[in-house]
Amino acid sequence: MQTTILYIGRDTEITTVMNRLLNARPEWKGICVCSDNEAISLCKEQHIDLVLLGNGIDAECEKVLRAKLTGIKPGLKIIQHYGGGSGLLYGEIMSAIN
């Protein structure tokens, strides 16, 4: 069973890399966006297991995002993705979903 992971970041290059990394593993399905509104719409439309907050999301945007996403899906796991690449990704996701 695939874990569906929504990544939200501001840097398009990093977001592209994250899309590749998340979809490289058969057990993960990655959806990567730079827009908060797009993320909120996606959260309304489909099943999401985990949200990764990536680069450039300021504290106010993060607060609003967390409130809106958990308002749509109560209990949704939302974590910060640090490092912008593959180094910490597997550990962060494993810790979150286990």
């Binding site: 501001r10 840097d11 290059e13 890399v17 300021d58 640090y82």
Partner: protein, 240 residues
């Protein structure tokens, strides 16, 4: 009462990719150990050996303080901020990834192995403007002395980062004893033995062993072998 955690060299994560032989003190890439996620804000301590001419092509980072210390050989660095540099043994490089930066890292020599420590700390502030710095260290100043090579202060010895962390390197004669005072209340120290054998707070450590100590304001140190080299990472224990 001080607390400690011991990471013996042979318990580290290991990945041999042929051109890259990597040992991970904490979970990294495909090495996942829930018991080894971080020591305070110290998240990554990688001990990488890279074949001549090989390395990591351009890849992005964000929101991480990345410190590179070459132990042998030299590394060629290029980044999206326009920096292009070679960093060799005796130098230190720091990059605040902040809002996002891309860089490549290659062994600068075709015929020499590169061994480096790459250390990642969680920053104390997210989304800072990316920055890069490198410094040549006075290697002689670390003889029988913990030489500060990194701090949070722009006007202090060594490079600076966005975190209340201090790094020190020392190379010691056999039998040399000293005490290290932790720089900030609430910080702990992760000691990593680069070479030789030492005793820290009664724990005997060999080459590439790591020892994390917290809930104390100082640690005792003794070099058991000549030329023992140790890196001390004095870091906040609370994640921001």
């Amino acid at each position: 009462m001080s607390q400690f955690i011991l990471h013996k060299e042979n318990t580290r994560g290991h990945a041999n990719h042929g051109w890259l032989d990597a040992h991970h003190s904490f979970s990294f890439a495909n090495y996942y150990n829930p018991e080894r996620m971080h020591f305070g804000v110290l998240r990554v301590l990688n001990d990488d050996s890279i074949d001549g001419g090989m390395g990591f092509g351009s890849h992005p980072h964000d929101n991480m303080e990345i410190i590179t210390i070459p132990l042998a050989g030299a590394i060629a660095h290029k980044d999206s901020m326009g920096n292009s540099a070679v960093i060799k043994n005796g130098e230190i490089q720091v990059m605040s990834a902040g809002t996002g930066v891309s860089h490549s890292e290659f062994n600068a020599n075709a015929d020499e192995q590169l061994n480096l420590l790459q250390i990642w700390l969680f920053p104390n502030k997210k989304n800072v403007t990316p920055r890069y710095d490198q410094q040549t260290l006075d290697v002689a100043a670390r003889h029988n002395n913990f030489q500060q090579i990194l701090s949070p202060n722009t006007d202090d010895a060594g490079v600076w980062i966005h975190q209340d962390a201090w790094f020190s390197l020392g190379e010691f004669d056999e039998g040399f004893e000293t005490e290290y005072k932790i720089k900030k209340a609430g910080n702990g120290v992760y000691a990593f033995v680069i070479n030789g054998e030492v005793t820290i707070n009664g724990q005997v450590l060999g080459k590439r062993d790591g020892l994390g100590i917290w809930d104390t304001d100082s640690i005792s140190f003794k070099a058991n072998t000549a030329g023992a080299e140790v890196l001390l990472m004095d870091v906040p224990m609370e994640l921001n």
